[in-house]
Each structure stands twice: as structure tokens, then as C-alpha cells.
Symmetry: C2
Subunit: 218 residues, 2 copies
């Protein structure tokens, strides 16, 4: 039955396609309006399908929201991989900061939804933070602590460093509007954004004493 695979693939494709359509639309609305501010009608409008259709794929608003959150978490696991343990502190941190900055620019919506979640008390994300994020963080803390113990970098608190990187990089997504207004109501140009990236990397690397063997970007 060589057709079987195709049939299944096609069957799944209508559902998958529509789920994706709805999730993308929902991401836009949740990011801009928050959980309560998001109505299924607005999502439907954004997705250009009738409202009842959304309920066909996602039985409740809560379920839709958790799928959006899950989506975001899946995506973020990628950027986390940029923080490996194969290179020098300076190389690893440069890569990680740049990756997080690029995510903030190319996909700010997820970051905003996440920020909203945390502000509201991590109601839907407590478990995820408690498990995945905490594990990830604890691992990186160990890595950074090893750098400190080896004398590769200054004796800084690893946790504070990570928070600093998260805060600074995600600021460019979460506070994009503020940055835009303060930039004369113009989105940061590619050049401005690259300047920001370079400066952040430079300041942090030097700040923790990790830039010794790297040329400072001019």
C-alpha cells in the first residue's frame, strides 16, 4: 500500500496546516494584547477564518494559549544550544549573546508573551521553568563557575551574569516600542542593531574579564 503514507500525510496536513495558521495568529494577538486582552474573535480575524473554526482545533482559550507557550519554549531551546561547553568563555558568550539578540530582532513576539507570563506570575509556565529552564540554568552555572575556578574569568556570580544577558538581550524584544520611540520613532536600523550587539558583547566580556585573548571590536 504505497498510497497509505500519502493519505495519512494529507489527512494530517489539513489539520497541521490550520493549527499552524491559528498558532501564528494567536501568537501575534497574545503578544500584543496579553492573555485577557486576547479574544478568540481577534485571533480568528487575524487568521482570517471563522471563530468557531478555532474552537474546532483548540477547544478552549487556555488550551490555545498553552500551545502557543509550548511553541515558544520549543523555539527557545534552539538558542540555548548556542551556550555549549566546547570553546573559550569569550567565544561561547559571544555566540550566545549574538544568538539571543538575533532572536529578539527576528522573533520578538515569543519573548513578549514570555515576559507577560512572568509578570503575571508564570501561571502557565511554572512547571516548565521549574524543570527545563532550571536544569538548563543550573548546568550553565556550573560551566561558568568552572571558568571562575579556573581563573578564566573574574570571580563573578554566574547567576547574575546569566540574568544580565537575558535581561539585556530580551529588552530589545520586550521594550521594542520604547526603543523605537526613543530612537525618534524609527525602528533601530540594521547598523544600529549591530552596534548594540557589539557593545553588549564587548561590555560583558570585558566586565567579567573574559576578553583578554580577544581583539576588542572597533
Amino acid at each position: 500500500m504505497p498510497l497509505n503514507k500519502n493519505k495519512i500525510a494529507h489527512k494530517a496536513s489539513i489539520r497541521k496546516k490550520n493549527e499552524r495558521l491559528i498558532l501564528n495568529a494567536a501568537e501575534v494577538i497574545f503578544a500584543a494584547q496579553g492573555f485577557k486582552g486576547t479574544t478568540i474573535s481577534k485571533v480568528a480575524q487575524q487568521a482570517k477564518i471563522p471563530k468557531a473554526n478555532i474552537y474546532y482545533y483548540f477547544p478552549t482559550k487556555d488550551i490555545l494559549y498553552s500551545h502557543v507557550i509550548e511553541d515558544i519554549c520549543d523555539f527557545w531551546l534552539q538558542s540555548d544550544d548556542f551556550f555549549d561547553d566546547l570553546n573559550s568563555p569569550a567565544e561561547i558568550l559571544t555566540r550566545y549573546i549574538n544568538a539571543k539578540m538575533d532572536f529578539s530582532r527576528s522573533r520578538p513576539l515569543g519573548s513578549r508573551i514570555w515576559a507577560n507570563e512572568m509578570i503575571r506570575g508564570a501561571q502557565y509556565t511554572k512547571d516548565y521553568v521549574n524543570k527545563n529552564v532550571k536544569n538548563w540554568l543550573d548546568d550553565r552555572i556550573k560551566i561558568i563557575q568552572r571558568w571562575v575556578d579556573n581563573g578564566d574569568i573574574d570571580p563573578i556570580d554566574p547567576r547574575t551574569l546569566i540574568y544580565m544577558i537575558w535581561a539585556t538581550t530580551q529588552h530589545y524584544a520586550d521594550f521594542g516600542m520604547q526603543i523605537k520611540i526613543l530612537n525618534g520613532n524609527k525602528q533601530l536600523s540594521d547598523k544600529q542593531f549591530e552596534t548594540a550587539k557589539k557593545n553588549i558583547v564587548t561590555i560583558i566580556l570585558k566586565g567579567i574579564g573574559a576578553s583578554n585573548n580577544l581583539k576588542i571590536a572597533s
Copy 2:
């Protein structure tokens, strides 16, 4: 008419007292639930007064919200004063960062409401950012640029530095719940918080080359 002053004072006091009561309650709810998630009933419950009473002092939810925002802005003008131009870069930035960190710890609600505002596109705050915040920022940029030109600090982009400080310090307010969960579900202790403050100051000062003539905190 020596009583006149008293009368007015007293007259004003009932209103002022209740407005304050309501604004404080509203701040709690707006911070935790966002604009749409806040209902006047919840605010009333928080303030322990009947709902209609709130409408007596604040005719609409929007008006109540803008008063809360105004309140926050007024308060923040204080911390801005910590960034003067009378001392060395290291002293000024240390003072400013510490002040912002302390605000994040003692009054996180305002920061969260502000973050929510920015995420949602600064709908109620565009003018304020465009005027007051922008002016303040442009002034500080000039100050920092002077430091750079004088060779007091490394040649960094002043704007990026300020954003870094804002992001990092406000992270402790906005992402308080995340930080708590990642700290084993315990709020940061005073000692942990002081460690964070010290580390942030140390990393930033060294990162911009301003710590030359300051002893590094141990």
C-alpha cells in the same frame, strides 16, 4: 476665617485618602493582571470598598489606569535624579544602578505595569516617553558621550549602556517570579540581592573601563 484652611484640608482629605486607597489597589491588580485582565470589581475587592465607589472617584477604567501610570512616572523621576553630573562616572553609575535595583526590590509593581505598557505598544505612554523619557535620555547620552570623549571610559555607545542598565535592573522587578522559581521557589534573600547588585555594578563599571580608580568589591 481661620477655619477655612482646615475645612479645605479636611474636605480634600477624604477624597485624597480614597483616591490613594484606590490607586494603590489598582496598582496591585494592574501589575498582576494587565490592563484587560483588571476588572473594577477586583480593584474594589482589593481596596475593600464597593465597586460603584471607584467610579465615583475615577469615572472610567481608562482614567483610573492613566492615573496609575502617572503615579508611576512621578515616582520614577526620583530615581532619575540619581544620575547627576557631579561625580566620576564610576560613582554616578554605581549610585544609579543601586537606586534602580532598590526600586525594583521595594516597588516592583510600577516596573511591571510599565513593562506591560511597552509590550502592548505604549498606548497610554507614548507621549510621556516621547517627551520626558526622551529628554532625560538625551541628556544622559550627552553626559556619557563626554566621558567617552574625555577618555574617562571606553568608547562605548551611551544608548546601549543605558538600555543595558535599565534592562538588567528592571529584570529583578519584571521577572521576579522567574527569578524566584529558579532560586528554588524562594525569593532572593537580602544577601543574594546584595550580591546581585554588587556584581552588576562591578561588571558594568569594568565593562566600560570605568573602574580603574575604584576598588573592586570583594
